[in-house]
């Protein structure tokens, strides 16, 4: 055979290889083909093609492999089991940027499913190779590398620590400064995934100078970028007070509030999460949030959205109110209590209701004025109902009880306490009685109201063990009134009177 014919054989083989990998990668893009491909043994066929001479075949094979691993857990495990990972890592270190991108895509697809698979990627030296990729010029390669690092770091703290130890953080911060929007998004999301586990990791990110750059990105127009940036900032701020203070110093606050009116709901949710994490830490930070007018904005946010999006806003109000009574009064004056009442009545889910009840408890627990504000919004019967309702979860019941107890201990507004006399279980009742016994001895109008509204009658009907705290309070209340009235209202008085009538002999 002549030389040309021999070379033609090789060319044909190359063409058929190329066609094979391209078809496989197109088929792998559709989820229904995955199972069939897996059963046909596509993994073992793709593996030698990864090391092919022709770069086009190599990178298309990697792309196909990535798509296969992306779509299902079992295929990703197959990738690991068949020892394809070292070859992939080898491709990552190659010079061709398409191959790097495709190989990084494969690593991402494998590591995103579970921590064990990520650990396998780490063990093959994947992390170091990806960090090398971050130093490239091409933004596509950097994006793919950053995304795979993000998927790895997402699972738990040890994997994040490995990523940080490989020196990824300064490179990611540099990626934030690049002009490409997609790269910025991925870098922000990876930083957010790294910081979320422990304070030390958050400190590592902050030490690389991430906060000022993230703060600048708040002003961008891109929605997804803003989501990731706020998520990253809130993950940093949540760990400790000085991290929150560092975030606050950069001047994030007034700018972040403009994003509360963003049309995208996740951006708003992440801003509110950031505000919640900052308000949680110290009283000064809550003060800062309130002084910037944050309360009004958050209450409007709660009004606009619904469902689990409300949760960070509700918790933020609770944390702000918990620090001091002036902040709680600020929450009340910003119409926070009425908004929380609306949330309580509208939301069906138990955990959101539990958070709302907790926040209400934090607001009402400080002084009688606060308790009065909560009571006049007619919230006490609602919370009582949640406490006694059998279908509420344990968490909701525990929180309702605690909130009721703390509010009742300060509540001196008797008209609001009276409805509670009727349905409350004994544990709540003793607090109600305690409050009555404190207020009634001093206020004659209240006593009159108490008698005319039927409260005294109800008190007589309560059965309590003698010597218990409840009985003491009942005695204290009874001693505020003249004997005849107490006897008149006690149950069975009409029978006593009738008996006396029968025994009476007119002279």
């Amino acid at each position: 055979m002549s030389q040309r014919q021999i070379i033609q054989v090789f060319e044909q083989y190359q063409k058929s290889r190329m066609q094979f990998v391209q078809t496989i990668s197109d088929l792998a893009a559709r989820p229904q083909n995955i199972e069939i491909l897996h059963n046909a043994g596509v993994m073992s066929l793709l593996r030698p093609l990864l090391l092919d001479v022709v770069p086009g075949v190599q990178h298309t094979a990697a792309l196909a492999l990535g798509r296969l691993a992306d779509s299902s857990n079992s295929l990703a495990e197959a990738v690991v089991k068949e020892n394809i990972l070292p070859d992939v890592v080898q491709s990552v270190t190659s010079h061709n940027r398409f191959q790097k991108k495709a190989a990084a895509f494969v690593l991402r697809a494998v590591s995103k499913h579970s921590p064990e698979l990520s650990q396998a990627v780490v063990d093959c030296g994947g992390v170091d190779a990806l960090v090398q990729c971050l130093m490239e010029f091409d933004p596509g390669v950097k994006e793919a590398a950053a995304w795979s690092l993000g998927c790895t770091a997402r699972h738990n703290a040890t994997l994040s620590q490995t990523v940080v130890n490989a020196g990824a953080v300064p490179l990611l911060v540099l990626c934030l400064l690049e002009p490409e929007m997609a790269l910025k998004r991925i870098a922000a999301s990876t930083l957010s995934d790294i910081c979320k586990h422990t304070p030390e990791l958050a400190h590592a990110v902050v030490d690389a100078g991430a906060i000022p750059h993230l703060a600048q990105l708040i002003l961008s127009r891109d929605t997804k970028l803003k989501r990731q940036v706020f998520s990253a900032l809130s993950q940093i701020a949540k760990h400790s007070a000085d991290l929150s203070e560092m975030v606050a110093e950069v001047g994030v606050f007034p700018a972040a509030m403009t994003c509360l009116k963003d049309p995208d709901e996740y951006v708003r949710k992440n801003v509110t999460t950031l505000m919640r994490e900052m308000a949680k830490q110290t009283a000064e930070l809550s003060q800062l949030v309130v002084n910037c007018g944050g309360l009004g904005a958050v209450i409007d946010y709660l009004n606009d959205c619904s469902g689990s999006l409300r949760l960070p806003g509700i918790m933020m109000l609770g944390y702000v109110a918990s620090h001091s009574e002036s902040l709680a009064m600020a929450v009340i004056l910003s119409k926070g209590v009425s908004q929380l009442a609306v949330c309580l009545s509208e939301e069906p889910e138990d955990h959101i209701k539990a958070a709302t009840v907790w926040s209400i408890g934090q607001i009402g627990q400080h002084t009688p004025d606060h308790a009065k504000a909560v009571a006049t919004a007619n919230l006490l019967p609602k919370i009582l109902k949640l406490y006694t309702d059998a279908s509420s979860s344990e968490d909701l019941q525990a929180k309702s009880k605690k909130a009721l107890k703390s509010i009742l201990q300060k509540c001196t507004h008797l008209p609001a306490l009276e409805p509670l006399l009727y349905d409350a279980p004994s544990k709540i009742l003793k607090h109600v009685m305690c409050q009555f016994s404190k207020v009634l001895p001093h206020d004659s109008k209240a006593r009159r109201l108490f008698v005319t509204s039927g409260g005294l009658k109800k008190v007589q009907e309560i059965q309590a063990e003698p010597g218990s705290v409840l009985q003491e309070h009942i005695n204290a209340i009874n001693s505020c009134f003249p004997e005849e009235i107490v006897r008149y209202h006690s149950p069975g008085y009409s029978e006593v009177l009738l008996e006396r009538l029968e025994n009476y002999q007119p002279t």
């Binding site: 309130v290 007018g293 944050g294 309360l295 009004g296 409007d300 910003s334």
Partner: protein, 276 residues
């Protein structure tokens, strides 16, 4: 004293034997006289010692009495001095208590005043709460404004995009323009007025049907940056004929084309037409 007395007596005793002598000095009855002498001597000694004893005792009791007087006066003096001191001290303590009580009252009033005025300043708190409400409303208004502006911006961007898309479509569909003889698709005789697409088609500048030059693509992408929000009417698109005659670029004849001269003539006649 007793010791002195004894000592004194013994001293006296020492000198006694010599002076006392008996009056009887007969030799025959010297033994009786001696006996008498001894007896009388003893009696004299006894009397004298008793008498001396009395003297001493009287002297001693005199001394006692004087000592008692001295001690009495001295004790009275020190006791009175002590009492005076105690009275002074008690008076001092009473005064100090009084001062301290008054100081406590002053401090109470002052601290109450200071706390009410500065630490738990009621009016400051009230104005703070009012300030917060005002700030909330202010922030709400600002945020509403910003939201409104952003919405308008987004809408204008959308409109620009749509308009450019329409113009591009008109550019591609230029052949649907109606002619004098035959009304186009968008200019149906049953309509009162031509469709907007028809108007666009009339406005669009028809480019020469050469091969698709990449530059036209670039000019499409070179439309002013969407981030620079210009609220003015849709921008100068390369396809819409501008009314300014002098800004029309002369169509350069293609280099490799065979109908080089024909194209040049056509271009020149076109520019002449527009100038008319």
């Amino acid at each position: 004293m007793c010791m002195n007395y004894i000592y004194f007596f013994n001293q006296k005793n020492g000198t006694y034997p010599s002076p006392i002598k008996s009056s009887l000095s007969c030799v025959c009855c010297s033994s009786q006289a001696e006996e008498n002498r001894k007896r009388e001597n003893q009696a004299a000694i006894l009397i004298q010692s008793w008498f001396r004893g009395c003297l001493e005792r009287a002297y001693l009791s005199h001394l006692h009495k004087k000592a008692i007087i001295i001690q009495k006066i001295w004790r009275g003096f020190t006791a009175r001095a002590r009492v005076r001191q105690m009275v002074k001290a008690a008076y001092f303590i009473m005064k100090m208590n009084f001062y301290e009580e008054m100081a406590v009252r002053i401090q109470q009033r002052w601290r109450g005043f200071y706390a009410r005025k500065h630490i738990h300043d009621f009016y400051a708190r009230k104005s703070y709460m009012e300030g917060i409400i005002k700030k909330n409303n202010f922030v709400r208004e600002e945020l509403d404004e910003i939201c409104y502006l952003q919405k308008k911006e987004r809408e204008s961007l959308k409109m620009i995009k749509e308009q450019t898309a329409k113009v591009y479509q008109a550019h591609r569909l230029h052949y649907l323009l109606s002619t004098k003889q035959c009304p186009g698709v968008f200019n149906s005789p049953f309509r009162q007025a031509p469709h907007e697409m028809e108007l666009l088609l009339r406005q669009v500048k028809h480019s020469a049907p050469t091969r698709l030059v990449p530059k036209s693509r670039v000019s499409f992408l070179g439309i002013p940056d969407p981030a620079a929000c210009s609220f003015s009417a849709p921008t100068e698109s390369p396809w819409i004929k501008s009314t300014r005659t002098c800004s029309i670029r002369p169509a350069l004849p293609p280099i490799a084309s065979r109908n080089h001269q024909v194209m040049a003539v056509k271009a020149r006649t076109k520019s002449l037409d527009v100038e008319d």
